[in-house]
Homo-oligomer: 229 residues x 2
DNA sequence: GACGAATTCAAACAGATGTTTTAATCATTT
DNA sequence: AAATGATTAAAACATCTGTTTGAATTCGTC
């Protein structure tokens, strides 16, 4: 018989904490619930992690680092055309958010990150920013290239948010989406399909932005715009 | 002197509750904090509202009904072209989410609704659905018209989410956006600008979807698709 | 101005919460 | 097997929680 070793107490707590924290949020979750789910004594959270707060911090760190290592930001050839890089970025982003085991992958620890996005706790603050800012910069590079040299920072930002907003909505509003539509954003086939859709939709949107930047036909609404950066 | 009557205790509690609940969430907020901020005795929450839970419920009801009455869903002429209706819908949605006093308008009660979106509490459950489902249906009508007769339900859904995701990201990820960019989504001028951007971006994206629906040139990935609905 | 109802207040209550303590158990080394 | 250190367990602790109580105060009305 293979020496199927049981998981360590530490890991059992971490796993249970993921579900309880994800389901109820930091404050509403109780260490007693977590320990009951993990099948361990109440004192062991403080023995292994020092405090409830530390457990949450460590859980968040694991969740983010593991997910970003499974679905890295730079999965594409940097010399590939921007269209291809956008597809790769969108696919990685959707996978990171939606895949089973991803940031909002399965019910339970799912909404932990959605909550942190809407309302970053001081605890995960740096962490969220450490991972999200670089990711945003990668997307900014792709979008800037697609928008062309006329694009100002503000334009790049709007393009970025239009792309990322489409992706993150499936994660953030997942409870609503599964209720309003009969649709499972975690299904692998759907993720592929969504990546195609978001990429195509965004390429058209960005092209439209670029066209307007290069041919500001009607509505010269803002005459004080300086292109030569 | 004008009889500048002070606000009633009830209203003072409601106001303070908006800030505390919005800032900390239902569970983390304490009635003692709320009462301290309102400058009233601890017992008055239960006297005027029956319970903390009821206070939260009533607050949520007020917030949603007031905001939807300020920024209604049907602000447009139903006979107007779909492009115009989309612009009106997007503008109303962004205003509802971002305007000062709107659902995520100012710090405090702001993130209450963002939280409920990511993780609807049983308390506001029906409420959220009562307001969001009809809104989604209005958008579905607009998107369906823009996508043309070839669009299936799944296509409409994807189009919807691409539009609404762009809007809601400014609200849901507001803490991140204000940190990553120097941008205030609540500024009236910015809301107008964003409405233009999202509308234009989406029209291009939807047009691209339609073109592919009507001319499925490459990648006949799904041969089992029946158009004549 | 007095009566009665509505409102406000200080205090207390019962239960839950994160954490600590102290002793028991387990694993590893000698 | 004894000793040592790490881990687990049961119980208690101090604090905080929403809520209730009962008296004080205010307000409208006769």
């Amino acid at each position: 018989m293979g020496q199927m070793e049981e998981k360590s107490t530490r890991d059992r707590i971490l796993e249970a904490a993921g579900e309880i924290f994800g389901l109820q949020g930091f404050k509403a979750a109780t260490v007693r619930d977590i320990c009951r789910k993990a099948g361990v004594n109440v004192a062991l959270v403080n023995y292994h992690f020092g405090s409830k707060e530390n457990l949450y911090r460590e859980l968040g760190r694991d969740l983010v680092t593991q997910t970003f290592s499974r679905f890295p930001v730079d999965v594409f050839d940097p010399d590939a055309p921007a269209e291809v890089r956008l597809r790769a970025f969108v696919h990685a982003t959707l996978s990171r958010l939606l895949s089973p085991g991803g940031l909002t992958g399965y019910p339970g620890r799912g909404q932990l990150m959605a909550r942190e996005l809407a309302d970053p706790s001081p605890i995960l603050d740096n962490l969220v920013e450490d991972f999200i800012r670089p990711t945003a910069q990668v997307l900014a590079g792709i979008v800037a290239e697609l928008l062309g040299p006329e694009a100002r920072d503000r334009d790049v930002m709007k393009g970025q948010i239009s792309v990322i907003g489409q992706c993150s909505h499936y994660a953030v509003a997942r409870p609503l989406i599964t209720r309003l539509f009969a649709f499972d954003p975690s299904d692998q086939q759907n993720i592929e399909d969504l990546a195609d859709h978001v990429t195509r939709f965004s390429l058209a949107g960005l092209a439209s932005m670029r066209q307007r930047l290069e041919h500001p036909t009607e509505k010269p609404s803002d005459p004080s715009r300086n292109k030569g950066d």
